[in-house]
């Protein structure tokens, strides 16, 4: 496979021709924040946290969805990008009810970690405080829509890795909600195999083990990539 050379933040980098800017950056040890990206799953470019500046393009591009090209000049950490990232994280917090102090995932939450990384000292936007439900009808798991950021990692893990597609999104905009099967309570979703991959994939406390108490939920999202890698090697 042909190699491409490009610069990221002024550092000369070599990457394979089919790699994304995100992959190339990470291989070079350059960190770009992500939320909807999860190794082992397809890319949707939904969260916009990995936006980067590319010389010659006025538009910001999602690093997870942009393939490297020869001579590309990428900036990942400019004041403009930092401001956008902080705004994105603030908007995520403002959209639903993220109360870290009483969340099952506190201390083990990617959204919480992102807020720290982008320096979110407070939220400048008005909270929408939507009335979101909690569904713990499943025997082993629960979903709290208050904590969902609609990253669709659970949807993709269920569809692409487990091959079931129990999860999907209904509604649009701020009314968008995760649903199981044809919008039935999770406990009545007959397609669900109770495999728990959605739990592994979830970056926040939205999907949790039933009976979890506050700050107790620890998961290892990298196990999704492990499963995918192992399967690809065998098949």
């Amino acid at each position: 496979m042909a190699a491409r050379t490009l610069t990221i933040n002024g550092t000369l980098i070599s990457a394979r021709s089919n790699e994304t800017v995100l992959e190339a950056a990470r291989e070079a040890g350059i960190s770009i924040p992500t939320l909807c990206h999860l190794d082992g799953l397809s890319e949707v470019g939904a969260c916009r946290l990995c936006l980067v500046e590319i010389a010659g393009s006025a538009k910001l591009q999602p690093a997870c969805h942009t393939t490297v090209t020869e001579g590309m000049e990428v900036q990942t950490d400019t004041p403009r990008l930092k401001a956008h990232r902080r705004a994105i994280v603030e908007l995520l917090f403002a959209e639903r009810n993220h109360i870290c102090a009483v969340c099952v995932a506190s201390g083990h939450c990617e959204l919480q970690q992102l807020a720290v990384e982008v320096g979110m000292s407070h939220v400048r936007y008005e909270y929408l405080s939507p009335d979101c439900s909690v569904d713990i009808s499943h025997a082993r798991f629960g979903i709290d829509h208050n904590r969902c950021v609609l990253c669709t990692r659970c949807v993709r893990a269920c569809d692409e890795v487990e091959g079931v597609h129990t999860w999907d999104i209904a509604g649009r905009g701020t009314n968008a909600r995760l649903i199981t099967d044809l919008n039935v309570p999770w406990g009545e979703a007959t397609s669900c195999t109770s495999c728990g991959k959605c739990l592994l994939a979830c970056p926040t406390g939205a999907i949790f083990s039933r009976g979890s108490t506050v700050a107790e939920l620890e998961r290892d999202a990298s196990r999704i990539a492990t499963i995918v890698a192992a399967r690809n090697e065998r098949w």
Partner: protein
């Protein structure tokens, strides 16, 4: 002309309050009201949450006594699961509650009421605080601060943090305590015991000179309620309820937490966010009862530990009656409870069960309604939950210790005002006596209204025409 004095805000208490004192035409005190001016709404916004989260959510009601909420909530959770928790988990919860009693009582005695008791009610208000106490009596104050630290560090050793540890959970607790940590606490017990005994001796000298305060700071007959062991001894967790009247007669005994509604009703008044619980059989407001350290020592036959029992006997002798009805004695009772807690911590640290790794029972939702009760430092605390078949909260009622003292606190304020205030004087030292009477109950208003706020105190003087004649804010 009749007037009203308003003290707003009330200082050195936990939460927001103000006091209104109503004067008659001749300048004498007609009535007084203790208003709690904050509102929080936990009983509404917890609806829809999984009950497993409730200990940690309700812990956020208070930074002083989160442990009380965690334990009462976990108790209710145990009952929803219909499990008997492992013995080690029960003992560890008890150990944490004892740590909580020690730290909270030390805070009340040394930090909040110490300045009144040892510097004087009418001393310079700029120095009448813990810093003034440190300056005047550094060793005494340091001892109190270290005693509180001892209790706080027991909580931290068990729960990983001093404030809001999400540690006790439905079915048990999340983690135990190592032999090394237990040994370290054992070494610190003599110092804690020494501080407590010295504080007790100091308090007795104050008590000897406080006849007037004893007779005016909430000196009236009332019922008393608290937890006792099956034998009728002092209890702080896992016991059943007992109610005695002012003569010592037992009106109710060994009542389980889930029957609390047979014992207590809740009234409300337009002028306070704090509810007015009352003893149901006597109705409102005749069913006035007190909870907390003095109530627990009044309802129990004895404590069950030697040092605390000797002090309890002396307290009853000093009061001249088996039932101590002067709220000034709450301070005394608090010190006796610290002593009892230290004796029980000594026993527990040697208990081999504490080394067990079996700490948490697991089950599904087996009851749809449960009540958890634990003795908070300020008195009996009830968490009453109803859940749907999946375990989401559908109804929540919290009965907080401070609320149960509400009628008594109002009577106390009126009694002190009648005794010390005349005319339209708003002399600072006299008004501080009104506040000091409230501090004897160590009220936690953030808890009892589940409200947000910092400690504050206000007082106003209101005329017969409803006009505010004078107003003081601190």
């Amino acid at each position: 002309m009749t007037q009203t004095i308003v003290i707003d805000p009330v200082t050195r208490i936990e939460g927001h309050a103000k006091i209104s004192i109503y004067l008659d035409n001749d300048g004498s005190v007609r009535d007084a009201q203790f208003h709690v001016t904050e509102f929080r709404g936990f009983e509404r916004f917890c609806i829809g949450r999984p009950f497993w989260e409730m200990p940690a959510i309700t812990a956020r009601i208070c930074g002083i006594c989160p442990i009380s909420h965690i334990l009462a909530s976990a108790k209710a959770g145990d009952a929803l699961l219909a499990v008997e928790i492992p013995p080690a988990a029960d003992k560890l919860r008890r150990l944490m509650n004892l740590g909580q009693i020690i730290q909270s009582h030390a805070l009340s005695f040394f930090h909040l009421s110490g300045p009144d008791l040892f510097l004087g009610y009418e001393s310079d208000p700029a120095k009448r605080n813990i810093f003034g106490l440190i300056a005047a009596e550094p060793d005494f104050a340091r001892g109190g601060i270290r005693l509180r630290q001892f209790g706080q560090e027991i909580i931290e050793a068990l729960g990983g943090r001093k404030i809001h540890p999400a540690w006790a959970v439905p079915g048990g607790v999340r983690s135990g305590i190592s032999a090394e940590v237990r040994a370290a606490f054992r070494q610190r017990l003599p110092e804690a015991m020494d501080v407590t005994r010295k504080a007790m001796a100091r308090f007795k000298t104050v008590l000897d000179a406080s006849d007037e305060e004893v007779r005016s700071y909430g000196f009236f007959p009332s019922l008393f309620a608290g937890m006792v062991t099956p034998e009728g001894n002092w209890e702080h967790h896992g016991g059943k309820l007992r109610v005695r009247d002012a003569e010592g007669q037992i009106l109710a005994d060994q009542v389980k937490a889930d029957a609390y509604q047979q014992l207590f009703g809740e009234a409300s008044e337009a002028w306070s966010y704090l509810k007015f619980p009352y003893y149901q059989p006597l109705g409102y407001p005749d069913g006035i009862y007190r909870v907390g350290p003095l109530a627990r020592l009044n309802v129990c036959d004895q404590v069950g530990t030697p040092l605390a029992d000797a002090e309890l006997t002396e307290m009853r002798q000093r009061a001249g009656h088996r039932m101590v009805t002067a709220s000034f004695y709450y301070h005394y009772a608090r010190l006796i409870e610290i002593l009892a807690a230290l004796e029980l911590v000594t026993q527990l640290l040697d208990d081999p069960d504490l080394g067990s790794s079996v700490l948490r029972a697991d089950a599904g939702v087996n009851h749809l309604e449960a009540v958890g009760c634990s003795e908070a430092p300020r008195g009996s605390l009830f968490h009453h939950y109803q859940v749907d078949k999946n375990g989401l909260i559908t109804y929540l009622n919290l009965i907080i210790a401070t609320g149960q003292n509400n009628l008594a606190m109002n009577q106390t304020v009126a009694q002190i005002a009648r005794h010390y205030l005349r005319g339209d004087r708003l002399e600072e030292g006299l008004l501080n006596r009104v506040e000091a009477g409230i501090r004897a109950y160590d009220p936690c208003l953030s808890c009892s209204t589940h409200a947000v706020g910092q400690a504050a105190f206000a007082i106003s003087l209101i005329g017969p025409d409803g006009r505010v004649v004078d107003h003081a804010v601190r």
